[in-house]
Symmetry: D2
Subunit: 336 residues, 4 copies
């Protein structure tokens, strides 16, 4: 199987390449990165030196013609110019960015701050969360890979909302993200001296992942979900820690809630429901999502904690999980 990666110079692209390194069934045929065109791959990703014998090229649709699978790891706003040119030329497209996750051009404009240039394609991609859409993914040709925050938040809330353990309104999601979620950055704000020994909330009420979480959960719960989402920047490289509070809709104990979650995710290869409180580090460099739930009977709330590696389950790993499903490989292929 031949694949290509568009936008391979960033952290998600680099993580795809890292995870694909030992692959025997998948051959990385092409990598593009406009600002690094002409450079050998190892000049940008030195840890991959000696593993790939590839150089970055400039993107043209022709370069990808005939490939079985193309991963798009571009900053938001760029995939919408690339996808129309790829469709029909390549087997499958997995877009790791945010351009095709929302269904509505107006909402896209509000949260992404720009006009969508391919509005006709909105709603045509399958949302690539295997725990929600595995069957549709199997036959899809165009996948919108979920955002990192949405992956953690949605996996955390899916069982509670679909099994009606909690009320859909007034949900609070406090999420803590490692800096790689912001991409390879040259801003003062993301410099070591500013991020280290600090933490800060950001984009409160305005983050582009808010409508994504709301849309997917509302559809899954068949009810309008309202939520407060506060993302924070952590002084770590990888991982998203989501601490979620929701009002109980049923009279359940912690054991009951854990049982619901265990049943919901029984058989899922990458979701681990546990009684212990998850740690960020535990899932680093893995495709796992670890989840616990606790009932606070005093306040009648369900506390949900979920944790993922934003570059793996929140990006490249989930993309490969989707690829595995689409191409009939074992779902853990390359992911353990």
């Amino acid at each position: 199987m031949e694949c290509g990666i568009i936008g391979a110079s960033g952290y998600s692209g680099g993580e795809l390449l890292r995870l694909l390194a030992p692959a025997e069934r998948v051959h990385v045929a092409r990598v593009t990165a406009n600002t690094s065109a002409g450079k050998p791959l190892a000049a940008v990703h030195p840890s991959l030196r000696g593993i790939y014998d590839l150089s970055f090229e400039e993107f043209t649709p022709e370069r990808f013609s005939g490939l079985d699978c193309v991963f798009i790891a571009l900053p938001s706003g760029e995939a919408m110019r690339v996808v129309p040119a790829l469709q029909g030329r390549v087997g499958r497209i997995i877009d790791l960015g945010g351009d095709f996750r929302l269904g509505d051009a107006a909402e896209y404009a509000t949260y992404y701050g720009r006009t969508h240039t391919a509005p006709a394609l909105l709603g045509t991609a399958v949302y690539g969360l295997p725990e929600l859409n595995r069957e549709r993914i199997r036959t899809a040709t165009f996948i919108a890979n979920p955002g990192c925050y949405p992956t953690g938040a949605i996996l955390g809330l899916l069982p509670a909302l679909t099994r009606k353990l909690v009320r859909p309104e007034g949900i609070v999601i406090n999420a803590l993200s490692g800096v790689s979620g912001a991409g390879r950055s040259s801003s003062v704000e993301m410099s070591f001296a500013e991020v280290n020994e600090s933490v800060r909330a950001y984009r409160v009420g305005k983050h582009q992942h808010l409508p994504e979480i709301r849309m997917i959960l509302s559809a899954a719960a068949s009810a309008p979900v309202s939520l407060s989402f506060v993302p924070h920047l952590l002084p770590v490289t990888r991982g998203i820690y989501s601490t979620i509070h929701a009002d109980l809709a049923a009279d359940v104990s912690t054991d009951d809630a854990l049982r619901v979650y265990e049943q919901h995710y029984a058989g899922e290869p990458f979701v681990r429901v546990m009684r212990e409180i998850p740690e960020l580090k535990t899932v680093a460099y893995t495709n796992f999502c670890d989840i616990t739930v606790t009932v606070d009977s005093a306040t009648r709330k369900l506390l949900i904690i979920s944790v993922i590696d934003n570059l793996v389950k929140g990006a490249a790993g989930q993309a490969l999980q989707n690829m595995n499903i689409m191409f009939g490989y074992p779902e853990r292929h390359l992911l353990q």
Copy 2:
């Protein structure tokens, strides 16, 4: 003025000594630390080498007789054995630990996991939060210095609750703490290799600061406050970041809410209300508490973010602020 520090070998004791180093009006006459008795101060706090010419002694009440002010920086459970022996012998006592913050022996037993041995003294200490109790602190002889999490949470919620911007029930406090809050520790869980590149919630629903926050806020709001408090351990040394969600009780805008906060804290030397989202780093090594508030009109919630340095405003700095008030010094003395 002569002061002494009991339990001076930990982080709070060390921070008191750091802040007192340039003092001209206050002389540190005695430091005790039972496990380090006999050692020079610099053997335990090497950064203070050449600044103090003191050695640790074992604690006896006699050693502190006649001192104007005694700071107790012991682990919880030890001050209740020390305070009865000190009262009457020394001018003022400022206890940085948790033994005398709660009013009720049963609640103490539940959350601290031991029986209180001086229950008659419970409720006799003034809760040393200057922004709440300045006048009572002025004449107090026994201060229970607030806990680190409570300082951040209470300062964040005081204006909203007392001015009835928010409802007292269902408040959610997500707090992130640097590791120094746990004291000088030799556990595997607090080792660098475990804490670094990670984050985790802990003591969910059981943390000893939960009843302290609830008690102080209920009294201030004249209404029973119910809250969910989820503390997290951050891979930073200093600081507490509190992200607080409360249901609005009034129809206010963000500007209205900011104005209420500004008025409430007008004249406070160490509370800074701001429109920007606070960062942990900004208050490191200072006695400031930075606060912002935002109204989320979609969910009818008030989002409050407060940030302190747990060792300064959350411990040693606030203790000195209390000392300054008690002894008639300018409140910023030693704290800027």
Copy 3:
């Protein structure tokens, strides 16, 4: 192939298990850890939950009888009690600790601070550095896996010393190590609050890896090597950065020196000689050793920089590389 791990609860043991997780040809049959006996593996290594269905057992030689390969990941001083009982019962032994690296009981006593209890076995293990001893490893039944500092230092110096680019005396090795090199630790010195935002040299002139480096390099250079070795503790989890200064013995340019290194390591799967200055992060989670060399003509010195992941090339990865060589697997098996 069936293998077992003795002392599997520490960082090296955990890393072996992580690297072995996707193995198809190697089955981990047994893990022992005396202090964790009875616990499921995931209780100690939560990241491995759902991957292994194993519990820790107490060590007995019988439990390992008949296994093809046994890895010993015990603290120094314990393997010398285990190896004699294992020999004859198991196919191959790879000891990741320091008990069988030195050839001399007196030197062992000096640097390890205890008497060797199996002195007859000293000198019987093959030193498991494939870049030096590949052929002997192939047929060995007992491997002393190199220490983490020695791996970086020796790989850095081997070409220069064997090709006589530098003089064997007066070599200076400044090495910086991540904290995982010290093992899973519960000391105050290794706590996050002490290590974070700091760095310190330690065990100057006394580190147990000094005689190991000296012995291996002296043998390789056929000349007594004298060196200063200053290890430092870095606030990172993984990695060893070695900055090495040696007096030039030949009149060479940087290009000449690079060529010597490239030739020396041509064909080596895990040594990458490069013109760029290596970074620690580049080799994290890999079995690579990245090396550069520079001639300083003003001071007539060769500067060598080498970098490894102490848990991979410096421990578990190199152990698997040795296993691969011994069992005839491709050398990159499980290591990419």
Copy 4:
């Protein structure tokens, strides 16, 4: 006394302002920063909110006319355009940058990569290392404040070279610096995701502090000093750790060497000679330089370790120490 700061928006400028905050004798009258002109000081240094009521202005010489002391905290290459315009207008000038430390325009061009535009002023500034030049500083009107690496290296080597404990040639300086030494930076290389969990040497043989160290030490030793200087970037914010190796010229023991250092620095308020190995953290936020020395009799080398906070003793603190000396204040004024 009235002072001003040119280039006050960077880390050194911010540190000057932090240290000057409690000053009673020194009034900060003016701060300039061309790129931030018009902004209130707290917009750039949020930790100083509520402490200074100042805004950044654009630099003009007139704005500083009549001030008693002007600190220049500009990037290298800018002070040489500013100083000529200031001289005669202001009382004293303390330049924290590198423009006036070297004596030779050719060497400046080689290491700083640009032509010096005020070569006539080269050599006219007093090198502001109080431990070397206290008496000259007292009466100076123009101070070149030492670089951060030079401060650590020179203080480490001064006693050994001037007392002829070591030979002046072949000295090896391995230095590890926190990221704030590079200034407020917006490059990818200095972003958290790149620096965190890593370390790397940089500018090997080309760093602009190399000629500064060589020049000052050669003058102090009255002999041409030759040295290898390898700076490394550490994942910490503050501090410089210097590990120095020099060949012994005398037959001394560690105790002898310590005694020489103690005598040399007797009475120095900010140099602490100690038997223990210094830690970076110990001097953070202080003006101290901690030093130890050890004789390695096997290799006939003296190992010297020195440690400073690059922003304090390596920049702003030393600048204030110089100010204190020039204006007759106690040398510890504002620095403890």
